[in-house]
Amino acid sequence: MGKHVLIMGLLMGAILLPSQTWPEELPALKSVHVELPSGDSQFPGGAGADAINNNCLACHSADMVLNQPALPRATWEAEVHKMINAYKAPIDNADIAPIVDYLARTKGTN
């Protein structure tokens, strides 16, 4: 029987619609409990990184930003506003300029 099912499965794999299989094969799912790495490293740069560290680590780890290519200052400015407008990042107006400066300084195109 096992072999029969296997052959059927192989034959049916090639047809277009999802193929129906046998009830004996129903899986028994098991509960899962895992732990995820915290991803809490900070942006480098000491005091010059205070604004970005205080505002840009709530939703994603720093590597999201550090792995970006060098981008024009205007693109960095647009990214910060996208975080505020589209993703509702709670950022003080006063912190926007130091964050954009940090990004343009460390990951700018010129």
Binding site: G9, M12, G13, A14, I15, L16, L17, P18, S19, Q20, T21, W22, P23, E25, L26, P27, L29, K30, S31, V32, H33, V34, E35, L36, P37, S38, G39, D40, S41, A58, C59, H60, S61, D63, M64, L66, N67, Q68, P69, A70, L71, T75, E79, A86, Y87, K88, A89, P90
Partner: protein, 414 residues
């Protein structure tokens, strides 16, 4: 042709680590790390190109760390050389919001079906598995932004090389059967899917995706409860994931727990703003071009890759060599794969491997000889069964979506 290495899942951690390092030796291992952490240098268009190889994520082996929280983990190219099916523990991972449940109880989990239906449902996993016909399908899951890191000019977003994709055998139930249980009312236009993940900031847009009602009921779209014969890794969407064959992964909602039938089009951020592409051939525009009509991304396009030869590899001139790799047709099957050893001047047909269905990866292989010493460019081109071939010029758009240019592997004959 080789088949899937089913032993991979059982491999010990240290062996996986060893393989990760060995596999990448050709791509430059950096010795700058304090202790033996492998670094891969991705063939991205500009720096930073180095990424750690991590085995720190649950139920996952060695993967390229693109982002720690929420996880973005890329499948190394070498994995695609090991078979047509991507092992679960090497399958790429992609989340938008960091509030991801780390504990799922299979006894209490429920899938809601609600909205424009006759009967609101709250289905247990047992009911889904036992009461509905089981179906299976082999299908490629690919991120809309796969290969974004190869875009020039560069664009912001996850800086993937080519490994934000994978192929699996999905087993589950038809979405249509689930919708029929609830009874879709006349006037339904879309079906919206939501998973258990949530934004970190309450007022931010929850990640949800919608499909038109006809697509949702086409009998192909399914809800998977196993992947390659095992329950899904939590990071790939345990316990239930939407499968939309031929469409980009943004629609394949993970940890699916809510299905809402809508009587008007979904206007949520992830449908109308994010994941939209220029309504142009290849979703291609000129950098800086504005005023373009944008539409939601949808069907995939053909792609192919050389998987046994790394960028910069060298071979003796005049000696026959094997090239091998994978291809996908996008929203239909692979008709043919052609190979060029002279930068696209001449093409030769390759031998295709087993056909596992039109939405699956398909292997190809061919022999080639580099006639004389020096630099050469290897290229591979897939044509799908709708006669759509990969283009020779790369596309560009501001989100780095839908790359499918013919890829080039630079090599040297010695």
């Amino acid at each position: 042709m080789i088949d899937r290495d089913t032993g991979m899942g059982a491999m010990s951690l240290s062996r996986r680590r060893f393989l990760a390092q060995a596999g990448f030796a050709g791509l430059s291992l950096s010795a700058t790390q304090a202790w033996a952490q492998a670094i891969v240098r991705l063939p991205l268009a500009s720096d930073p190109r180095d990424r750690p190889i991590t085995s720190e994520f649950p139920q996952k082996g060695a993967l390229i760390l693109q982002r720690t929280r929420p996880p973005l983990l890329e499948t190394p190219l070498e994995v695609f050389d090991q078979g047509v099916f991507t092992p679960n523990d090497r399958f790429y991972v992609r989340w938008h919001w960091a509030d991801i449940p780390t504990e799922i109880d299979v006894g209490t989990f429920r899938l809601a079906v609600r909205g424009h239906v006759n009967k609101v449902l709250s289905l247990s996993l047992n009911e889904i598995i036992r009461n509905l016909p089981q179906v299976e399908l082999n299908a490629v899951n690919q991120c809309s932004g796969n290969s974004r890191g190869l875009f020039q000019p560069r664009v912001a977003g996850a800086q993937w090389a080519n490994g934000a994709m994978g192929n699996a055998k999905w087993t589950g139930v038809r979405l249509k059967d689930v919708l029929d249980l609830a009874g879709v009312k006349a006037g339904a236009v879309q079906v919206r899917f939501n998973g258990l993940d949530e934004p970190v900031v309450p007022e931010a847009p929850d990640f949800m995706k919608s499909l038109d009602i006809d697509l949702a009921r086409n009998g192909e779209v399914m809800i998977a409860y196993t992947m390659n014969g095992e329950q899904l890794p939590l990071l790939n969407g345990f316990p239930l994931r939407l499968i939309v064959p031929g469409w980009y992964s943004t629609y394949w909602v993970k940890m699916l727990n809510d299905i809402e039938v809508l009587d008007k089009p979904d206007d949520n951020y992830w449908m109308t703003t994010a994941y939209t592409i220029p309504d142009t051939p290849y979703a291609n525009i000129k950098p800086g071009q504005t005023g373009v009509k944008m539409v939601p991304i949808s069907r995939m396009v053909p792609r192919s890759f050389i998987t046994n030869i790394a960028d910069g590899a060298s071979f003796p001139a005049g000696v026959k060599t094997l090239a091998r790799g994978i291809a996908m047709g996008g929203d239909t099957g692979v008709a043919k794969v052609d190979f060029s050893a002279d930068g696209g001047k001449s093409w030769q047909a390759t031998r295709l491997g087993t056909d596992y269905g039109k939405y699956s990866f398909r292997q190809w292989e061919t022999d080639f000889t580099l006639p004389e010493r020096g630099a050469h460019s290897l290229m591979v081109r897939c044509t799908n069964s709708a006669n759509v071939a990969q283009p020779s010029v790369p596309n560009w758009n501001g989100s780095g979506f839908m790359r499918n240019v013919i890829e080039t592997t630079p090599v040297t004959a010695t």
